[in-house]
């Protein structure tokens, strides 16, 4: 037990209940408005911060900072606990209009200031291990970014603690506000850039301060408390902030508001070239797309050293300052064209004069001129990003399908002579470990094969990584897919070629009986064979020479393992995780094995910072940091509150930890699952956040109409729904995949209704019926917030290590624990 329940406390419970049970929430009209507007603004701020980090740094670093700053929410509850022992009747004083208005103003000021500080602070993650001052910058960024979330958390926590009978309404205001905040950036980013939108959304809560008048009661209570300020002063202050923000936005202050990419990003590097400029910038929730014109852009991965001509002129579009897509100036196809000197052109040799080609493009851009050079009759290009699809369509004047490739294939019955997938991957294994990508899962590979004609060929080109990792995984994925489709000798269908920096994997629908064409091409272009039917060691590693033919040796070893049925042992013993990925674990860039971390550390030069860019290690660092902060926030109350006045009970705390973790597990499960449907993590995040938060809000509102005894039933119903989802979600999403875009959105939202609505019940019901003191509610809020952050970080690792479906098991376990506590402990105590 974390506290004791004395007779004195029982009396104070009665007194508190008498005092507050009939307090109408709308007697304090500022509170619901503030909760709604602050939740809206804070969630929009969070989504926009993710955008800012995505541009200025890299995704997994933003993951680290934003996770930590979200503790600001939980810190609001801790703050209330600390003042609980020091200020009598704080809940009444603080929840009156004056203080809430002040907190709202503080939110706006800190949101704008923290963004400007983040934008201006010379924080350089690469210098962290080198310059101690960088740690100070990082801490400053953390603290500043946590402030607006702290003030939001404080107001929401105040609302819960001060109006227990209206918990459902507060929950509704908070959740629906958050849902609106999740959608707002998606709607406005096409018109307003990230920096300016942060300023605009930070101003939204001020509308409650400026336009809402105080009534007599509020003035009376405000005048007595520590936050007493003339309402007019606050209104003038707010108008001043709006005016200052308007000046900031209207003067188009690039220094303070414009978000610049890291100097290490490709866009920054390119812009340092002479006569290079950004000719077009398009912003959206999917990213910022900068198109650059420069005479210095030359992209030709996998080009043979035998090419002596001149590359065609190119332009490039960067997404968030990186992930370039190159557009070539159309040039008439000829034998001398650069495309015929590339590794991936080898695939076209196996099926000369193809009638139709499917190009699935994720970055790069060289596959389009290559396909054109083959003299194909019809090219179908699939590009997921609408902005890039538009650019490609406009540049080449050819139709481009703007869709998730899996959705397109699920609907299409067409067969192709060649399917060429362009996704070059990362040059640094582990850097994109958290990236969820379905292009190379065994399920996707099977889908590609089923869309090939009888003589069809699949071509995949990637960067050549050493230690061999990506090439092994792809080879294994192709092998298993072919096996599942009934191929007798899958290895007879596969060939791999490489040069000094890239490799191309070619899969033929028919067994490769004659590989002479490929061998001659490799010889002519000075390429090396890595794997081919009938290949031997003396045929490899001839032009691009390693100390040993590492890639050949490993793939050969794997092929033997498959033949002898010992592939599991191979994957277990290989120092990196190179096993094929499925739709349930679609992380093609994740290679880390925790049990071999020491070996990896040694392999990469025994230097800490070479591992620093590994996304998976960042997850662990974030989890440890988050755990530390959670313990600190939860324990802080114990250090600051005298033991005899503590009012927390361990089961209560555990209940709210469970509910917080469960909620976040479900949210993360759907976000990750829906990336399969929408093909884009940002769209998935927006749809799931908006859906789940809105439906939970409705659930919270409805919770006011049901009795406390129904809490176990609500939890049991939720657990049943989640168990059902465990088995049903994947088949349902597979079906949804083939539907049109609008139906996919609608059905995905519908699927969120049952869990979303039911998840809206456990928190407000327990807040309302199972807790007795304001300080208990504040503490419950803190526990809920801490568990949310920890669960979100844990979800990332669960998905990486075990799979996405397993996240739901975490959710079910958490809600089971809540059910056990709700059923046997708290109800009894009540």
């Amino acid at each position: 037990m974390l506290g004791i329940k004395s007779g004195k406390q029982s009396n104070s419970i009665k007194s508190f209940k008498t005092q507050y049970s009939n307090t109408p929430l709308f007697q304090y009209p500022m509170i619901p408005a503030a909760v709604f507007l602050l939740s809206l603004s804070a969630l929009a701020f969070e989504v926009l911060l993710a955008r800012v980090f995505s541009i200025s740094q890299w995704n997994h670093l933003s993951f680290m900072v934003i996770s930590i700053t979200l503790f600001g929410f939980a810190a609001g509850g801790t703050f209330l606990n600390i003042i609980d022992a020091r200020i009598n009747g704080w809940e009444k004083k603080l929840s009156s209009t004056g203080p809430v208005k002040i907190l709202t103003v503080l939110y706006t000021v800190t949101a704008i200031t923290s963004f400007i500080v983040l934008n201006r602070i010379p924080l350089d993650y690469f210098r962290l291990p080198l310059e101690p001052v960088q740690a100070l910058y990082l801490l400053t960024a953390y603290l500043f970014l946590a402030l607006p979330f702290f003030f939001t958390g404080l107001v929401v926590s105040l609302a819960y603690t001060s109006f227990p009978e209206k918990t459902g309404s507060v929950y509704f205001a908070s959740m629906v506000g958050s849902a609106c905040g999740a959608v707002l950036p998606a709607l406005l980013l096409p018109f307003i850039d990230e920096g300016n939108l942060i300023i605009y959304t930070a101003l939204i809560p001020l509308s409650a301060v400026i336009f809402r008048r105080s009534n007599f009661i509020e003035k009376h209570t405000s005048s007595k408390n520590i936050f007493s300020l003339n309402p007019l002063t606050l209104q003038l202050c707010s108008l001043g902030i709006v005016l200052a923000a308007a000046v900031l936005v209207m003067t188009n202050n690039d220094t303070l508001v414009h978000v610049n990419p890291s100097p290490y990003k490709a866009l920054s590097q390119t812009l340092q070239f002479p006569r290079t400029r950004v000719v077009e910038t398009v912003t959206g929730i999917r990213g910022r797309f900068d198109t650059v014109n420069s005479p210095y852009i030359r992209f030709a991965p996998g080009l043979s050293l035998k090419f002596t001509g001149r590359l065609p002129d190119q332009m490039v579009t960067y997404r968030d300052g990186d992930s370039p897509v190159f557009l070539y100036d159309p040039q008439p196809g000829s034998d001398e064209s650069a495309c015929r000197f590339t590794l991936y052109y080898s695939g076209y040799l196996l099926n000369p004069a193809p009638e139709n080609i499917l190009l699935i493009q994720q970055g790069g851009g060289s596959s389009i001129p290559c396909a054109k050079a083959s003299g194909v009759g019809k090219i179908t290009i699939i590009e997921q990003q609408p902005q890039i699809a538009h650019r490609v369509r406009r540049h080449y004047n050819i139709p481009v399908v703007n869709e998730n490739p899996r959705a397109f294939l699920a609907r299409s019955q067409r067969r192709y002579d060649i399917i060429h997938i362009e996704n070059w991957g990362t040059s640094l294994p582990g850097a994109a470990a958290l990236t969820q990508n379905y292009l190379f899962t065994t399920d996707s590979l099977s889908e590609y094969f089923s869309h090939l004609t009888g003589k069809g060929v699949l071509i995949i080109s990637r960067k050549l990584l050493l230690p061999p990792s990506d090439s092994i995984r792809l080879w294994a994925g192709v092998y298993e897919s072919l096996k599942s489709l009934g191929a007798e000798n899958p290895e007879q269908h596969i060939s791999v070629l490489r040069n000094w920096s890239h490799f191309t994997l070619i899969v033929s629908k028919q067994p490769l009986d004659n590989t002479v064409k490929l061998q001659n091409f490799a010889q002519r272009m000075n390429f090396d064979m890595v794997y081919m039917p009938g290949i031997s060691r003396n045929m490899v590693n001839r032009f691009n020479i390693f100390d040993a033919p590492y890639h050949f040796l490993e793939i050969d070893r794997l092929a033997n393992a498959y033949r002898s049925g010992t592939e599991k042992k191979y994957f277990e013993t290989y120092p990196l995780d190179v096993s094929p990925q499925t739709d349930n674990r679609p992380f093609p860039y994740r290679f880390l094995k925790w049990t071999r971390l020491k070996a990896l550390y040694k392999m990469t030069g025994s230097r800490f910072y070479s591992l620093f860019m590994s996304g998976e290690l960042i997850v662990t660092v974030v989890f440890l940091e988050a755990f530390g902060i959670s313990v600190l926030l939860l324990m802080l109350s114990f250090f600051t509150i005298p033991q005899n006045t503590r009012k927390f009970y361990f089961p209560q705390v555990l209940y709210f930890l469970s509910v917080g973790a469960g909620f976040m597990f479900v949210e993360l499960f759907f976000i990750k699952e829906y990336i399969f449907v929408f093909g884009d993590p940002v769209i998935s995040l927006t749809v799931v956040l908006a859906g789940i938060l809105f439906f939970s809000g409705l659930g919270g509102y409805w919770s006011q109409r049901i009795r406390s005894k129904n809490l176990p039933y609500a939890l049991a119903a939720l657990i049943s729904v989640l168990i059902f989802m465990c088995f049903a979600v994947n088949p349902i999403l597979d079906r949804i995949q083939g539907f049109s875009t609008i139906f996919r959105y609608l059905l995905s939202l519908l699927l969120l209704i049952p869990p979303g609505f039911l998840m809206g019940l456990p928190f407000p019901l327990a807040m309302q019926h199972l807790l007795n003191f304001p300080s208990q509610r504040a503490y419950a809020w803190t526990a809920n917030g801490c568990a949310s952050v920890l669960a979100s970080v844990a979800s990332a690792q669960i998905a990486l290590s075990f799979g996405i479906s397993e996240i739901l098991i975490g959710a079910i376990s958490a809600y089971f624990l809540a059910l056990a506590i709700g059923r046997f402990k708290l109800i009894g105590q009540k």
Binding site: D124, F126, R127, L130, E131, S262, P263, Y264, K265, S268, Q269, Q272, F273, P274, Y296, R298, F299, A300, P301, G302, L303, L305, K306, F307, T308, G309, R310, S427, L428, A431, L466, P467, N499, W500, S501, H502, N526, F543, N544, I545, F546, D547, A548, Y550, L553, E554, T573, P575, R596, A599, L600, K602, M603, T604, G605, R607, Y609, S610, F612, M613
Partner: protein, 240 residues
């Protein structure tokens, strides 16, 4: 006569002393540099005396930003601004040694960066050309090289992709920037039997070096593994 001798001495010795002073550095950095050479360079197998001498003589700290001077001789790359880095000392030494320089070669460096690599090359060969596309970096590096007395190094602000046709052909070309293909003009400017070296990978993580040798119209690319990582067949597989 005495006056003439004195004047001659001053005229000859003083500039020499000054030049020596400029190239030399404070004693405070000599010890870390010696330690760098012994623990990072020699210990990892670099044995070419010319390379060892160059690494021992060139004051690396003069090429790094002031706020990172204390880390100049540490075993890692350092940021030099503009999103660029000065390579890890061992990578500089290995790239230089891999070219197998005798001292008479004409060398072209693509990507001057801080100018440190050019200074190392200039310590071994007198005929060094270096191109930097970023104006700011080019100006700073040229200034540093001049101040330190490396006046023989020819620097140019321009596009390294097309090499330096006026000075071609080259015995050796060194590319110090990440690229996805070898520029055909550079291969053309390489002498028959010439060597081109370039790093692969991320400067902040492990890198592989590739050495390309020209044999008539054919090329051989040799991967010099082990820049910062031990191949899988080495250490890692032994740990099963």
């Amino acid at each position: 006569m005495k006056k003439t001798s004195l004047a001659a001495t001053i005229l000859i010795l003083f500039p020499a002393l000054l030049a020596g002073q400029i190239r030399d550095d404070s004693l405070g950095f000599k010890a870390p540099r010696e330690k760098m050479v012994s623990s990072q360079i020699r210990r990892r197998g670099i044995s070419d005396k010319k390379v060892i001498t160059a690494m021992s003589e060139v004051p690396r700290h003069r090429f790094v930003p002031k706020n990172l001077v204390s880390r100049a001789y540490a075993d890692h790359p350092l940021p030099i601004g503009q999103g660029q880095t000065i390579s890890q000392p061992y990578v500089v030494a290995l790239m230089t040694e891999s070219l197998g320089l005798k001292g008479y070669e004409r060398i072209l460096e693509i990507g001057t960066g801080s100018g440190y690599q050019a200074a190392i090359l200039a310590n071994i060969s007198k005929d060094v050309y270096t191109i930097e596309i970023k104006k700011k970096l080019c100006d700073t590096a040229s200034q540093t090289l001049r101040t330190m007395g490396y006046t023989d190094v020819k620097t140019r602000h321009g596009d390294g992709y097309f090499g330096w046709p006026d000075a071609a052909p080259f015995d050796c070309i060194m590319i110090t920037a990440a690229i996805d293909h070898i520029p055909p003009p550079l291969l053309k400017q390489l002498k028959d039997g010439g060597r081109l070296i370039l790093p692969l990978g991320n400067p902040f993580s492990y890198q592989n070096l590739s050495l390309i040798t020209k044999h008539g119209t054919d090329y051989r690319v040799r991967q010099i593994t082990g820049v910062l990582f031990v191949p899988m067949t080495g250490y890692a597989l032994d740990q099963k």
